[in-house]
């Protein structure tokens, strides 16, 4: 997406750097889960096992995906259909792009809010992992915080898109007059 001002560009660069580091951390977590699983397989040959592999992998996966998510939004890593929009004129295309980014932001706000509520809910009932007797609410709070960061990343994208739409409208008005 084109950036309309140097201020936007600087902020985008900063957010992207942070999100790239988080994404690399996410993939490192996934690699760690692979190591844990393979170690468990090897130990199985000696009739031994690592504790709670399913629990570790399940919650590790959630943390890894939530850690990667801001990068996904900032780098526009989505499956979407642009064939219809590409054929539109510049003005409706810019407005539609802003709207789609806003929809993503609203959904992420919803997701972050639900995760916070869910974390509070899990804390209240002292919910634990299936095999390991560890309370899960701190993990859900971590996920909620990561979703909030993703929400801000998405909101930033929406802000840029709205700014772009507004500048397109203004430019076209000036050109007309």
């Amino acid at each position: 997406m084109p950036l309309t001002s140097p201020k936007h560009a600087r902020l985008h660069r900063k957010l992207l750097t942070v999100s790239e580091h988080l994404a690399m951390l996410g993939i490192a977590i996934l690699a760690g889960l692979a190591v844990y699983t393979v170690t468990d397989i090897i130990l199985r040959l000696f009739s031994l096992s690592l504790p709670g592999t399913v629990d570790i992998v399940s919650y590790g996966l959630a943390i890894a995906i939530a850690t990667i998510m801001p990068y996904g939004f900032l780098a526009d890593q989505h499956i979407s259909i642009s064939a219809g929009i590409d054929r539109l004129a510049e003005k409706p295309r810019a407005i539609l792009a802003a709207l789609t980014k806003l929809i993503s932001s609203i959904f992420l706000a919803w997701l972050a809010g639900s995760t916070f509520l869910y974390a509070a809910d899990r804390k209240e009932v002292h919910d634990t992992m299936w095999i390991l007797n560890i309370e899960i609410w701190p993990i859900w709070y971590v996920l909620a915080v990561l979703f909030i960061f993703t929400f801000f990343a998405s909101l930033f994208q929406a802000w840029i898109a709205i700014d772009l739409a507004l500048s397109t409208l203004t430019r076209q008005k000036v050109e007309k007059s």
Partner: protein, 442 residues
């Protein structure tokens, strides 16, 4: 149709509209699903679904196969395994007329056995095979068409990301689907080789023969490609024999390819490791978002009862089951001409899958068999879509890697392989045993 089904219908139409405005498919499905559930149940119910389905999917142990198989495929692609496979295949068949195209199909099939993505297979093979074929005066269109066709093997030959997604959304056994894909995958390779044979016989100038390799060169090539064979035997062999669960098999594959990537020296190349990691990250989160969105949307569809009503209407109309299957094929070909393959599958499965389940007795299958068979049917149709104009994503990937070849030439080059795929699909419809034989045996 009752009120709920009409809401389901409105939701489906709304989803199509929102997707056409460019909203990411995963988010569009989740948003429409939540709004639909809000209307059908209430706000609290919709939020509960987001917690139960959306959030629980994040901690679903079985879903960890997705990012792990993605890591395996992308690290293998970046570690240069495709070039080694092509070199080995070239050493054995390069001296035949069309030898490099035979080698491309062979290497693509072998690479597909460790990489579950069609686009990754096409992109990596384009970089390896196209320059070689250009140097040997192969006809551009035919060479590019072969790479595009070979790339489609990536989503059929296990481990396939597309089959994983199908397994997750329809709750079908991954092991059964991976086993079912093997025979159609081998058939695809044989049909492509046969197609090359026919084309080179009709147009000998399109693909000249290279010099014959010595046995020393062949053995060298084989030893270079041995790592792929070992990896495939370990990952997929372990899965088929029940030695590993799907998650364990994906973990073994991911770890082995990461190690191979580091041992191959690619990690020391500036930016290569970071690029590979970010590619894995982007692809994983993109697919995960779709899985979560599809989970919410499928729940909305199930609550609305639309798939059941749709299946009842079709079966009550008394249409022969093969006509229905033909209509499904046409639908996918039309959708495939403007939609991404993952989006197309995830979007249609909640409605089409129950219909196929309802038709199962009419086509002589149990519901479980139909689920496995239809998974392979859908993936083959999607394979065809990857080569069908105007979208044909594999063709775009090849064009991106070889700008000098016009799109029209690539489409012409792909046409014989497209026909071969149609024949294969008809065979699989006529003889479902080709798909169901191996899962039943295991």
């Amino acid at each position: 149709m009752n009120y709920d089904a009409w809401i389901g219908m409105a939701g489906f139409a709304g989803l199509l509209f929102i997707i056409l405005t460019g909203v990411p498919i995963g988010i569009a499905m989740a948003v429409v699903g939540l709004i639909g559930l809000w209307v059908l149940i209430d706000g609290y119910g919709a939020l509960s679904v987001l917690k139960v389905i959306g959030l629980q999917d994040l901690t679903n142990y079985n879903l960890s196969v997705i990012p792990l198989f993605i890591i395996m495929g992308l690290f293998a692609s970046r570690a240069g395994l495709s070039a080694r496979l092509f070199g080995a295949a070239h050493a054995f068949v390069g001296h035949y007329r069309g030898g490099l195209t035979f080698a491309t199909i062979g290497a693509s099939a072998a690479f597909s056995a460790i990489c579950g993505s069609s686009l990754a297979t096409a992109a990596t093979m384009a970089k390896v095979a196209l320059p070689e074929m250009k140097a040997k005066n192969y006809e551009d269109g035919f060479a590019a068409g072969t790479v595009a066709a070979g790339g489609t093997l990536g989503i059929l030959i296990p481990p396939s990301i597309m089959l994983l997604l199908y397994a997750i959304t329809t709750e079908t056994s991954i092991v059964d689907l991976f086993a079912a894909a093997l025979v159609p995958g081998v058939l695809a390779v044989l049909f492509y080789l046969l197609t090359i044979g026919i084309v080179t016989r009709m147009r000998p100038g399109s693909a000249p023969a290279s010099a014959k390799s010595s046995w020393k060169e062949r053995l060298n090539g084989l030893s270079e490609a041995a790592s792929v064979i070992v990896l495939f035997l370990l990952v997929i062999g372990g899965l088929y024999t029940g030695l590993f669960t799907p998650v364990e098999s994906a973990a073994v594959g991911a770890l082995a390819t990461i190690l191979y990537f580091f041992l191959s020296g690619r990690a020391s190349k500036s930016g290569d490791l970071k690029e590979t990691i970010l590619e894995c990250a982007g692809t994983s989160v993109m697919i995960f978002l779709i899985v979560v969105g599809a989970g919410v949307f499928s729940f909305f569809m199930a609550i609305s009862g639309l798939p059941r009503v749709f299946a009842e209407v079709i079966t009550a109309a008394g249409m022969p089951p093969y006509v229905v299957l033909l209509a499904i094929l046409m639908l996918y070909l039309v959708l495939g001409s403007f939609m991404d393959s993952i989006g197309m599958m995830i979007l249609t499965i909640p409605v089409i899958f129950p219909l196929v389940q309802a038709l199962a007795p009419d086509i002589g299958m149990t519901a479980t068999d139909a689920a496995v068979w239809f998974g392979i049917f859908v993936v083959i149709v999607i394979e065809i879509g990857l080569m069908t104009p105007p979208l044909g994503l594999n063709v775009f990937v090849i064009h991106g890697a070889a700008r000098h070849i016009p799109m029209a030439s690539i489409y012409r080059g792909v046409a014989p392989f497209w026909l071969a795929d149609i024949v294969r699909l008809l065979l699989i419809v006529a003889f479902p045993g080709l798909v169901l034989w191996l899962p039943k045996l295991l």
